[in-house]
C-alpha cells in the first residue's frame, strides 16, 4: 500500500520506534521566541543540560515587542525583561538570535520561509500553535508547549504519537476576488473549529495548486483553527521556484540533489487516508467571522445567523457568541460597523497580503473614527513594501505603518484593541478578549480589511472600484 505525504515525512524522521510508546522523532529545525522559551531554558540550567544542536535552533523576537520606535526603551517593563531573558539565553547556549534591530527580525513563521530555512520534507517545531504555516512547503510543522521546547533543546527530538490523516480536496477554481483566507475560513465554517482534532491535514486539489506560496502559507497557518495538529501541501514547481536562491536554500549541485529528493514528497496514488473531505471552491464568497471562534463565519453578503438557524447542540455557543459580539440575529454583515483595522500577523503579514490591501487602499482615505494599522510580518517584508511604494499608499490613506511583530493579533504588546472596539482583522483568532478585553474581532482577508478601513463597515471587495495609478 502506498504512503501519504505525512507518513513519508514521518518515516524519514523516526529515531526510535518502541512498543506501546510514542516514537522518538528527529526535529530538523526548532524556532524559538521570547514568550514560550524562558522556562525551558531555566529547566535546562536546573538539570545542567546543554542545547544539543544550537545550529538547528533559531531565535527571534515577535510576540511581546513594541511595533513603534524601537530605539526607545520598552514602556512595558515585564516585556523588556522577557526580551532580555531571550538575549541572555541565546548567548549562554550559543543560539543565533535575530534581535530587534536585525534586518532578519520578524514573526517567526514569516522569517523562516523567506530565508529559505523552511524546506520540503523537514520537521519543524516551535512553541506556537501557528507553526503549521510551514506545512505549505510539504514540511511537517506543529506547535508545542514549553516542556516540549525544553525536550527539543536538550535532545533535538520529540516523543510523538502518529496522527490520523485527512485529505482535504479543494475542488473547482477559487472565484476571482476570493482569497486563500476566504478558502480556509469557509472550510472551518462548514465543519467547525474542532473538526480535525487529532488529524494532520493534507490540502489538495486544483485550487491549492493554483495558490502562490504566500497563499498556501495562509491556508496551512489556520490548520490549528480547525483543530488539526498540522496541515500539509505537497511541494511542486511553485514551491521550488519560491525557494530557489533564498539565503539558506541549497545551491548548485546540492540544489539539484534536493530537488530530486523533494519531488518524491507527495502522497502515493494508492495511499489511504483515515478520512477524506471534498470541498467545492467555486461557490466561496469573501468571508467575515461574526462569532467568537473562527468557525462562526459567514459570507459578506449574508446575515448573522440566530440560535434557531443552527443545530440544537450549537445553540448555546451561538447565543453566547452573539451576546459577546453584541450582534442581533439577522444583522447583515455589511451593516456591521468597525472602528479598528489590523492588517498583519503570521496569517496575512506577507508581502502579497500587503500588495492586495494596498491595491484597495490606493487613492482612498481611512474613514473618520477608524484606527487602522499595518504591521508587516518581518523587517524584510517592511523593506520590500517601502521600496514598492506600498507603505506610502497606506500612510497617505491614514494607516499607521509599523515595525514587524505579532502586534494586535494577540495584543501582548501595546497594540491592544480597547473595550468595545470592533476590529476588522487579518489575523487568525476571534476568541473573546483575544485582541483586548471586551473588544470584538472579525476575521477577514487583507483586501476585505482594507476596504472596511475605508468604508468603516464591511463591503464586498469584489465590487470595489480600484483606482489604478492614483496616489502612488
Amino acid at each position: 500500500m502506498g504512503k501519504t505525504l505525512y507518513e513519508k515525512i514521518w518515516d524519514r524522521h523516526i529515531v526510535v520506534e518502541q512498543e506501546d510508546q510514542p516514537d522518538i522523532i528527529y526535529i530538523d529545525l526548532h524556532l524559538i521566541h521570547e514568550v514560550t522559551s524562558p522556562q525551558a531554558f531555566d529547566g535546562l540550567r536546573l538539570a545542567n543540560r546543554q542545547v544539543r544542536r544550537p545550529d538547528r535552533t533559531l531565535a527571534t523576537m515577535d510576540h511581546a515587542i513594541p511595533t513603534t520606535d524601537r530605539s526607545l526603551p520598552f514602556e512595558d517593563k515585564i516585556a523588556a525583561k522577557q526580551v532580555e531573558a531571550l538575549r541572555k539565553n541565546c548567548q549562554d547556549f550559543g543560539i543565533e538570535l535575530f534581535d530587534l534591530f536585525s534586518t532578519k527580525q520578524g514573526i517567526v513563521h514569516i522569517i523562516a520561509p523567506e530565508l529559505g530555512l523552511t524546506q520540503p520534507g523537514q520537521t519543524i517545531v516551535c512553541g506556537d500553535s501557528h507553526t503549521a504555516t510551514h506545512g505549505a512547503f510539504g514540511t511537517l510543522a506543529f506547535g508545542i508547549g514549553t516542556s516540549e521546547v525544553e525536550h527539543v533543546l536538550a535532545t533535538q527530538t520529540l516523543k510523538q504519537y502518529k496522527s490520523k490523516t485527512m485529505a482535504v480536496n479543494f475542488n473547482g477554481e477559487l472565484p476571482i476576488g476570493v482569497t486563500a483566507k476566504d478558502l480556509i475560513l469557509a472550510l472551518i465554517g462548514q465543519y467547525g473549529h474542532d473538526f480535525a482534532t487529532g488529524y494532520v491535514l493534507e490540502y489538495r486539489g486544483e485550487a491549492i495548486r493554483n495558490l502562490t506560496m504566500e497563499e498556501r502559507m495562509t491556508v496551512c497557518n489556520m490548520s490549528i483553527e480547525i483543530g488539526a495538529r498540522a496541515g500539509l501541501i505537497a511541494p511542486d514547481e511553485t514551491t521550488f521556484k519560491y525557494l530557489e536562491g533564498k539565503e539558506y536554500a541549497p545551491k548548485g549541485e546540492e540544489w539539484q540533489e534536493a530537488l530530486e529528493d523533494w519531488r518524491e514528497l507527495k502522497s502515493d496514488k494508492d495511499a489511504q487516508f483515515d478520512r477524506i473531505v471534498d470541498f467545492n471552491c467555486s461557490v466561496i464568497e469573501p468571508q467575515v467571522t461574526w462569532g467568537t471562534n473562527p468557525g462562526l463565519v459567514a459570507s459578506v453578503n449574508a446575515a448573522v445567523p440566530g440560535p434557531e438557524d443552527v443545530p440544537e447542540e450549537k445553540r448555546r455557543m451561538v447565543e453566547s457568541a452573539l451576546a459577546y459580539m453584541d450582534l442581533a440575529p439577522g444583522t447583515a454583515i455589511k451593516d456591521i460597523e468597525i472602528n479598528t483595522v489590523f492588517i498583519g500577523s503570521c496569517t496575512n503579514g506577507r508581502i502579497q497580503d500587503l500588495r492586495e490591501a494596498a491595491k484597495v487602499v490606493n487613492g482612498y482615505q481611512v474613514a473618520e473614527e477608524v484606527r487602522a494599522l499595518v504591521v508587516p510580518g518581518s523587517q524584510f517584508v517592511k523593506q520590500q513594501a517601502e521600496s514598492e511604494g506600498l507603505a506610502k499608499i497606506f500612510t497617505d490613506a491614514g494607516f499607521e505603518w509599523r515595525e514587524a511583530g505579532c502586534s494586535m493579533c494577540l495584543g501582548m504588546n501595546p497594540d491592544i484593541a480597547k473595550p468595545g472596539d470592533r476590529v476588522a482583522s487579518t489575523s487568525n483568532r476571534n476568541f473573546e478578549g483575544r485582541q483586548g478585553r471586551d473588544s470584538k474581532s472579525h476575521l477577514v482577508s487583507p483586501s476585505m480589511a482594507a476596504a472596511a478601513a475605508i468604508e468603516g463597515r464591511f463591503v464586498d471587495v469584489r465590487q470595489w472600484p480600484i483606482k489604478i495609478g492614483e496616489g502612488v
Partner: protein, 200 residues
C-alpha cells in the same frame, strides 16, 4: 513533576464549551518568565471585573469552588494557542483533574507534562456529572489513575481509558527528557545519515 496516583476533590462545574487558552490565561500574563504563580490569573477576564475586583458571579469566586480541584467542563477544552501557561495556571490554582467530552490537541498533551490528568469521558457521562454536581453542593469525585476508575461516595463508579504511556508518565512523575537522553547513541547515529539541506 509531581506524581499522580489517586486524587479526591471538589468538582467545579464550568458549564461552557470551547473554552480557549486566551480565556484560561490572557496574554498579558504570558510576559512573565517564571513557571509558577499563574493561578491567580486563571480565567482572568471572567474571574475579575474590568476594575480588577472579584466577580462574585463567577463559579470559582464562590464557595466551595475556591477549593475545587476537579474541573468539569464541556467539549473542546483548551483550544487555541500552545501556551503551557494554561495548564500552569490550572495546576497552580489547585486543579489536578479536568473532565470533558473532548480536549484540544496541544493543551491535552501539555497537561500530562504538568501532573494534570485530562480525563475524556463520553458526553452523556459528563452530562450526568453536571447533574450530580448541581444536585449535591460540594460534590466530590475520586479519580484513581492506578485502577483507572472514577467514583463518588454515593455509589457512582466507572472505568475510564487513558493511554498507557501517558498514564505511566503521570503515575511515576516521569521526566521525559531523561528517558530520551538514554537514546543518545541512536540520535547521534540518526544524525550521521539524515540529510538536512539548509546550511547556516
Amino acid at each position: 513533576m509531581e506524581a499522580f496516583k489517586t486524587h479526591q476533590g471538589i468538582v467545579a462545574p464550568l458549564d461552557r464549551a470551547n473554552i480557549d487558552t486566551d480565556a484560561i490565561i490572557p496574554k498579558q500574563f504570558l510576559k512573565r518568565i517564571e513557571r509558577s504563580g499563574y493561578g491567580e490569573f486563571l480565567f482572568y477576564d471572567w474571574r475579575y471585573t474590568s476594575e480588577e475586583q472579584e466577580n462574585p458571579e463567577f463559579l470559582l469566586n464562590q464557595e466551595p469552588y475556591r477549593n475545587a480541584s476537579v474541573l468539569l467542563t464541556r467539549e473542546n477544552f483548551g483550544c487555541g494557542s500552545s501556551r503551557e501557561h494554561a495548564p500552569w495556571a490550572i495546576e497552580d490554582f489547585g486543579f489536578r483533574v479536568i473532565i470533558a467530552p473532548s480536549f484540544a490537541d496541544i493543551f491535552y498533551n501539555n497537561c500530562f507534562k504538568n501532573g494534570i490528568l485530562p480525563l475524556q469521558l463520553p458526553a452523556e457521562e459528563v452530562e450526568g456529572l453536571f447533574s450530580k454536581t448541581a444536585e449535591n453542593p460540594g460534590y466530590k469525585l475520586t479519580i484513581n489513575l492506578e485502577q483507572q476508575r472514577i467514583m463518588d461516595s454515593q455509589g457512582y463508579e466507572r472505568e475510564f481509558e487513558v493511554d498507557e504511556y501517558r498514564r505511566e508518565m503521570l503515575l511515576k512523575g516521569l521526566d521525559e527528557i531523561s528517558a530520551t537522553i538514554q537514546f543518545e547513541t541512536q540520535i547521534a547515529d540518526f544524525e550521521r545519515t539524515h540529510k538536512i539541506y539548509y546550511s547556516r
